[in-house]
């Protein structure tokens, strides 16, 4: 955030966590550290019960992100929409805080007349177009996800088309959980090219457990490590609030 970068974790899962720490607690912590956690639940065709819906929403809420539960075939549009909206929301949060600074602590966007609001929206959109985006994709590869993975891959490739159409930079990395020995396995290190994920899911071994909490914790660590690294030599990028347009 501080560096003009929006940092997200995008969690794709098809059910409830059933092992390890509480993912909601971890998401709360992640938000505290300046990340936002978006969660997309993937349903089987014909399964209307939306398994694990409560938890999916709760994780996103705790993590300051967005969530949705969809059928595998709707995944592409949902993934890009959730990512984009979450990004706007993060930036909006920053702008709103700024409004509070300027107008007083209990003021919000809605206390501004509609005409003034439009100017702010333009600022939010401008920042959203130009900000850097670091997005860690965390894919549940428990056994029930097996038939959904081709759709997941398709949706991620599609997400790359959308995000790469922005002016700002994007960096992606891809993790699966549960890992062979660790909570997560890295499928793709930080890269501006998400296209290189093609075939990444082939190597995966399926498991019965869904340790969402521990996986989120690892994802958070990956982000924090990168943030520390960047702080070392990228101070010149400036913060959000100093970007052109504000």
């Amino acid at each position: 955030m501080k560096q003009g970068t929006v940092r997200q974790i995008l969690l794709l899962t098809d059910g409830c966590s059933n092992s390890g720490e509480d993912p909601i607690a971890i998401a709360t912590l992640a938000k505290e550290e300046g990340l936002s956690v978006n969660v997309i639940g993937i349903m089987d065709e014909g399964d209307e019960s939306a398994r694990g819906l409560g938890e999916i929403e709760a994780i996103a809420q705790a993590g300051g992100g967005m969530s949705d539960v969809v059928y595998a075939k709707q995944l592409s549009q949902t993934v890009q929409m959730v990512t984009r909206k979450a990004m706007t929301q993060t930036i909006f949060g920053v702008v709103n805080r700024e409004i509070k600074n300027i107008l007083g602590s209990n003021k919000e966007m809605e206390d501004l007349p509609p005409e003034k609001r439009e100017d702010l929206i333009e600022v939010v959109e401008e920042i959203g177009e130009n900000a850097s985006l670091d997005i860690l994709v965390l894919v549940d590869t428990s056994a029930s996800m097996k038939n959904k993975l081709p759709r997941v891959q398709e949706a991620l490739l599609d997400l790359a088309i959308s995000l790469n159409s922005r002016t700002g930079e994007n960096d992606y990395c891809l993790y699966s959980f549960p890992g062979k020995r660790n909570p997560v396995d890295r499928l793709l290190a930080w890269t501006p090219q998400l296209d290189s994920l093609k075939g990444a899911f082939k190597k995966i071994t399926m498991s019965g457990v869904t340790p969402t909490g521990p996986a989120l914790k690892e994802a958070m660590k990956v982000h924090l490590k990168r943030m520390k690294k960047e702080e070392g030599y990228e101070d010149d990028e400036g913060s959000f609030m100093e970007q052109p347009g504000l």
Binding site: A60, M81, P113, E122, E129, D158, S162, S165
Partner: protein, 326 residues
Amino acid sequence: MRDPSWNNRDYSFYPGQVVKGKWHGNHYRIVRLLGEGAIGKVYLAEGRGGLVAIKVSRESMSVSSEASTLRQVTKVHGVTLGPSFLDMDDVITKTGVTSFYVMEYIKGEPFLNFLREKNMEWLGILVVPLLKDLYSMHQAGWIFGDLKPENLIVTAQPISLRWIDVGGMTKVGRAVKEYTEFFDRGYWGMGDRKAAPAYDLFAVSMLMMNRGYLSRFKREEPGGIKQLMRRLRDRPLLDPYAPVIEKGMQQRYKDALMMKNDLLNLLTKGETFRHAPAVKKPVKSSPVSRQKKKRALPKERIFKGVLPTSAFASFLLFVYILYLVG
């Protein structure tokens, strides 16, 4: 989409409800729900000057964003087919503050419904004015983005094409805000989602394809121009338009005007459509001017709160509207 942490409130209105704007003080009586999209609802309502369409959303931000876009785009010289922007405000209800914006109500038939019962030349006749509008929009630095039949309405008397929904409109050079897979060149592997005139023109080609495939079709790996061209050739119905559709899909048009001219040439060649001359006339002559008059009115309405409008003037306005509508 569920967005738990951000402006998530009940944003429904009910028929008969009087919505009173907090900032501008205008009243609107809700008549009925017109339609519902991914993020919002559109209601038919009665304002001071007549029927209007009101859009609400659970995201106050997207209401502001759309209102701002609609206001800007409909101001562009040469852009005449959108609903005019009338008002934006907040209403205080039991559940909190809901933002809404008010626009001209466009009464008509969905694009494909209208075309289904008509000869094929009507497709071109309606797309020509669309391309003119797009040209002006593009010149001003805006892209329509989410171009699809659901966002096009055909009005009667005179028959004319109008567009609604500015949700996808994006400034040239930015990432397209909203799109629908069938009309999206990114989905077909035919380019990125950076807002550019060619992005819209690809969608116009797919719009015409949609006339031949009413329930659309999906991408078959690897997608791309091969699949699209095969589909185009498979529909004799589309034959007359095939050259234009193909060129638009391949994004070989420099701008919307070139595509419009090609289309116009097709339509006026004479041999292409058997009944063409008989039906073309009313569309070409009257709709533009009539439409402009209609569109001018609502704008005056916004200022009624500000200007000292006498009862006499509003009576005249009322009679004038009756004259136009009737």
